[in-house]
């Protein structure tokens, strides 16, 4: 893989130059949290961000978007007006999340709505330093080798920049003059030191390796009932989780003519009507069953299906659930094995 250097003070100029390719997004402070916001004004960029409220999935399958417009029975897919976008500041764990979504959406029965957005979204990764809610080291998602177009590694006054795709290479060429190509011995040393230091910064460890078995054994554990009593069914956990893909469909028409659109919105298995079928039968009526499904799906089913858990250790659920139901507490409760 090609590796380059970019002086830190050149970052804004570089990002600015990328506008020739597409809209530029990056971490922006919102209150005390961060979001990926449009960088019409680069002074808003805040590279010290930890996790954003919503993950990059919001660009690839927005919370609400049209899939088709129709009249009578002619359907036209809405794939044309998707803009080119550059998202800067994506942390390694989240890129792992993207790789999971890629598998999910692009392998069996490729989803064109996701695919087209993915193709038109350049992912510019950025190294990070964990806080007490990150546990990417436990999930082994704290480094990433693929899934990005460029990846920036922050080393004091410059970035090491990995070029991860041919698009990434094109993007570099937009301002090649800002980059340096000769990586020296001392850069390597610098990088290794940084890695060691950064690895030592992980304070939270959540071990997921034994989860499939533990979950199986805990199928009827009272832990689920306790969690179910507490859960607000607000669905926030699913919204913020980088690997939650579930959605709902609804057709919208105009009052006076037969034209409309088929809209797709994020859904959550935490909601009561998620598994409700015609005739009123609900396969997961109780909240405890829903909480159990959520965690079973992330920590067990994905391992069966894709060989690894669908948790990337980003800590968003820890940061989000008002009643403290999250991978950390659930795993702890299950291992505590009541």
């Amino acid at each position: 893989m090609k590796v380059l250097k970019l002086k830190k003070h050149n970052l804004n100029d570089y990002l600015d130059s990328l506008r020739v390719w597409g809209e530029v997004y990056g971490p922006v402070k919102q209150g005390e949290k961060y979001i990926y916001g449009q960088l019409d004004d680069l002074s808003k960029l805040d590279t010290k961000m930890l996790r954003t409220i919503l993950p990059v999935k919001k660009f690839l399958m927005p919370p609400k978007f049209n899939t088709f417009t129709f009249d009578e029975n002619k359907y036209k897919a809405e794939l044309e007006n998707i803009p080119n976008r550059i998202v800067f500041g994506v942390h390694p764990c989240e890129i792992h999340g993207l790789l999971i979504l890629d598998k999910f959406f692009l392998e069996r029965f490729p989803d064109p709505f996701y695919g087209e957005r993915r193709r038109k979204t350049a992912i510019l990764g950025l190294s990070c330093v964990p806080d007490d809610k990150c546990f990417a080291k436990s999930t082994n998602t704290h480094y990433v080798e693929s899934g990005f177009d460029l990846a920036f590694n922050d080393l004091d006054n410059y970035y090491l920049v990995w070029v991860g795709s041919s698009l990434g290479d094109d993007l570099v060429r937009i301002r090649l003059d800002l980059f340096e190509e000769d990586i020296k011995e001392k850069d390597l040393k610098h990088y290794m030191e940084w890695r060691n230091w950064r690895d030592s910064q992980y304070k939270l460890n959540v071990n997921l390796t034994a989860m499939p078995d533990i979950m199986e054994l805990n199928y009827s554990s009272p832990v689920w009932d306790e969690l179910g009593d507490k859960c607000l069914s607000c669905g926030a956990c699913s919204m913020v989780c980088p690997t939650c893909p579930c959605y709902n469909m609804s057709d919208q028409i105009r009052p006076s003519q037969f034209t409309g659109k088929r809209e797709r919105t994020w859904d959550s298995c935490m909601f009561k009507q998620f598994a409700l079928v015609a005739g009123g039968h609900n396969f997961r009526e109780a909240r405890s069953q829903r909480v159990r499904l959520w965690y079973t799906h992330k920590l067990k089913a994905f391992i069966t299906e894709f060989g690894k858990a669908a948790c990337i250790g980003c800590g968003r659920c820890i940061d989000t659930c008002p009643v403290d139901i999250n991978v950390k507490t659930v795993v702890k409760a299950l291992k505590g094995g009541k």
Binding site: N248, M249, F283
Partner: protein
């Protein structure tokens, strides 16, 4: 995008009539013949049927791929989409996409005996299997067809199945829980009672397929197990809520299983070892 799995394909309703009180038969075909010839699917698979402005819902295919060019459905009026479908007349156009789901493992059935057990609406997908095996009669061993309905008036495809009774290469048994007409010529009793008529079953060489209302499964499967048929040779179809049919929307998830892709046909072994399946 050439292949958009979500894009409904317009199909015309060519025939439409009531099978029973609240279940209607729909025969549809693509607008163009070229496309009709390409239709390909397996018994046990389903299609997503779209009504613009109303929504989409999954329905099992009831026709057999051995009689190409057409798709047939048996649809029960239970909710929003089905109600609107019932309002449609012949020659109107609906959106259809698919086929989805695993379907029955026809190849594994080859040279084997087959017991097809049906309750109520389960006749819709299993008719596809039955007709397929009859159309390819020489590829399969003996075929037993067991169908139980509550009353004669509630038996789907009654006339069609009655006519099949005359076939010598098919052991067809039809039963009703109660005969309220006084003119019923077939059996009366639960479908499980028909099992005593199954003779000389070679369990290792037999597949059983079951589809019907949830209450029926337990009892029917008990009977099949009594015959000694291995759990992985007992197949059943399951239902869940679905909005995509292609393992994306998440509504049909059970543990690690997406009913729409890994099912809707499951073996009894799957059902036993995967929690929450039924």
């Amino acid at each position: 995008m050439a292949n958009n799995v979500y894009l409904p394909e317009p199909m015309r309703i060519v025939r439409r009539y009531d099978l029973i009180d609240d279940v209607r038969f729909f025969q549809v075909r693509p607008l163009e013949m070229e496309r009709a010839l390409q239709l390909n699917y397996l018994p046990g698979q389903f299609m997503m049927v779209s009504l613009a402005g109303v929504g989409e819902a999954p329905f099992s295919i009831s026709s057999t791929p051995s009689r190409p060019g057409l798709l047939e459905f048996g649809i029960r009026k239970v909710g929003i989409i089905t109600e609107e479908l019932f309002k449609l007349k012949e020659n109107e156009v609906i959106g259809v996409r698919g086929p989805f789901g695993n379907g029955f493992p026809i190849d594994k059935f080859e040279k084997k005996d087959l017991i097809i057990v049906v309750g109520g609406l389960g006749a819709v997908p299993l008719r596809s299997l039955l007709l397929y095996t009859l159309d390819n009669r020489d590829r399969f061993g003996r075929i037993f067809f067991l169908y139980g309905a509550r009353r004669p008036a509630e038996m789907l495809f009654r006339r069609e199945f009655m006519e099949l009774k005359s076939r010598e290469d098919l052991h067809s048994m039809l039963t009703v829980d109660k005969d309220d007409t006084g003119r019923w010529t077939e059996q009366v009793g639960l479908v499980t009672a028909l099992f005593k008529n199954l003779k000389d079953i070679d369990p290792q060489n037999t597949y059983a397929t079951v589809c019907g209302p949830p209450v029926m499964y337990k009892f029917v499967i008990d009977e099949i197990i009594k015959l000694g048929i291995p759990k992985h040779q007992i197949l059943m179809t399951l239902e869940r809520r679905m909005h995509c049919g292609v393992g994306k929307c998440g509504h049909c998830v059970i543990g690690s299983i997406y009913t729409c892709m890994d099912g809707p046909v499951f073996s009894y072994w799957d059902v036993m070892h995967m929690k929450d399946l039924i």
